[in-house]
Amino acid sequence: MMDGVKAALVLFVAVLLQLSVLTEYRLFRTASIVLVALLSIALLRGSIFGAVAGFMTGFLLDTGTLGTLGITSLLLTLGGFWIGRYGETTARDRFHAPYVSVAVVTALYLFGQLVLQFMLGEPAPAGLVAHGVPGALVLNLILTLPVYALIRRLFPPLELGDRIREVRLLG
């Protein structure tokens, strides 16, 4: 419950930063602090948490930009769920996990957005997206360092006692 409130606050602030501050500078226009914050939370709290947080964050972003509702929700739900699963299975306690997650999902998010826009008959300039991918990757990876460190403090990895609910006796 407490994690839910904290995640809602963190992601709300990230959306405000994204909408009003970060995109004001051309250099940072391709960066997405929302995506980085969401993936960091999903990595630390798992797939269901990541999917629900992704859906809500996407809804908030689409509302703020007056865009077509649901597009960002769909992409962030899938991104949050997938990285949450990655965190639950193979990525635990690995240093490179947040960076790999952000890099992969940034590229997939941009191309996913392009595909959805194309399917809805909206302008979908693939060349522009491909051109913007390297910049977005670099900026999001730079953002990952402070954002993940902050979110790790807010959402500390669960203690061993919280993780283990049953013990199997061998032999």
Partner: protein, 316 residues
């Protein structure tokens, strides 16, 4: 079993695979629960996309949400503004001296031009009155709604901004948006048009969007008529397309909206005379019918702070 290995080691080192450890609350839940949750969320997203794209049923919800979000966006912007101003101040300091000299020269030239223009303007007004001339609509025929940008473009592809004025201020879909400074009647260069409107917010598609285009003409040579749209690459450059090779366009000429005469079905929604940009380069090849004209926009589309929306005058 090799020598010196205990039974315990043999058990731990056996080839029997252990179950994957469960590390998170959600992974404790069954795989079925996980699939149901993500399936429902994806389904909800698809329903939202369908309803939002095909009808205006969710416009009320979205408009209310945007209105609620707006004070927070304004607060975030105000908190960040001093930092942005500081960065801008340092950046400006670097090339202030060179720019100062250049601007002094420009200022002198513009003063002389202004004197000539004021004379021509007076003459124009008198002649119009004498001839009872009815021309195309101009900026003066619209009311102006001054507002701020509350959300900037998102990502590399998006060429739209959200502004803090909507139907309650008289804004309509298709309303023309300009910058507040620089142009005639206190209005500036062309920014774009409103494409979605809510009660207190609207979304403006910028002129740099690949779907935007506007009929334009050269101030110094009105026989030049073409369509201004986004260039192939960067959004810093616009092109004036479909201009035949015969009318002469010179580098440095100012390009303005052409507007249209009358009120037929193909009437332009842009009033005549809104500045768009200056000609940055011009070329023509033997194999094409039209000139290649690149424009430098007068608006810095990456940092629009305030805008003016042109709305029909009350009673019209």
């Amino acid at each position: 079993m090799p020598r010196n290995r205990t039974v315990r080691l043999a058990v731990l080192g056996s080839s029997v695979q252990r179950a994957a450890p469960s590390g998170f609350p959600s992974s404790r839940s069954s795989a079925l629960k996980r699939r149901i949750v993500v399936g429902l969320l994806v389904l909800a997203s698809l329903v939202l996309i369908t309803v939002s794209f095909r009808s205006s049923a969710l416009d009320g919800v979205q408009g209310t949400g945007a209105t609620v979000l707006r004070p927070f966006e304004v607060a975030a912007d105000r908190i960040a503004r001093p930092f942005a101003d500081t960065i801008g101040w340092f950046r400006g300091l670097v090339d202030a001296k060179n720019e100062n000299e250049k601007l002094r020269g420009q200022n002198e030239a513009l003063r002389r031009q202004l004197i000539l223009d004021e004379g021509a303007l007076q003459e124009n007004v008198q002649l119009r009155k004498a001839l009872n001339f009815v021309g195309p609509p101009s900026i003066a025929d619209f009311d102006k709604v001054h507002t701020t940008v509350v959300a900037n473009s998102q990502g590399a592809v998006d060429e739209s901004v959200v502004i803090g004025a909507g139907t309650s201020n008289g804004v309509q879909t298709g309303s023309v948006v300009v910058e507040p400074l620089g142009g005639p009647d206190g209005s500036g260069a062309l920014v774009g048009t409103v494409d979605r409107v809510f009660s207190h917010e609207s979304r403006v598609t910028l002129l740099t969007d690949s779907e935007s285009a506007v009929t334009a003409t050269d101030v110094t040579n009105p026989s030049v008529i073409g369509a201004v749209r986004r260039g192939g690459g960067s959004s810093d450059v616009l092109i004036l397309d479909r201009v035949p090779k015969i009318p002469v366009v010179r580098v440095g000429d100012t390009i303005v909206t052409a507007g249209s005469l009358g009120t037929g079905p193909l009437e332009s929604k842009f009033p005549r005379g809104i500045p768009i940009g200056t000609v940055a380069s011009r070329s023509a090849s033997d194999t094409t019918l039209f000139q290649n004209i690149q424009l430098k926009p007068l608006v810095d589309f990456s940092s629009i702070q305030n805008v003016v929306v042109l709305v029909p005058k009350k009673g019209q």
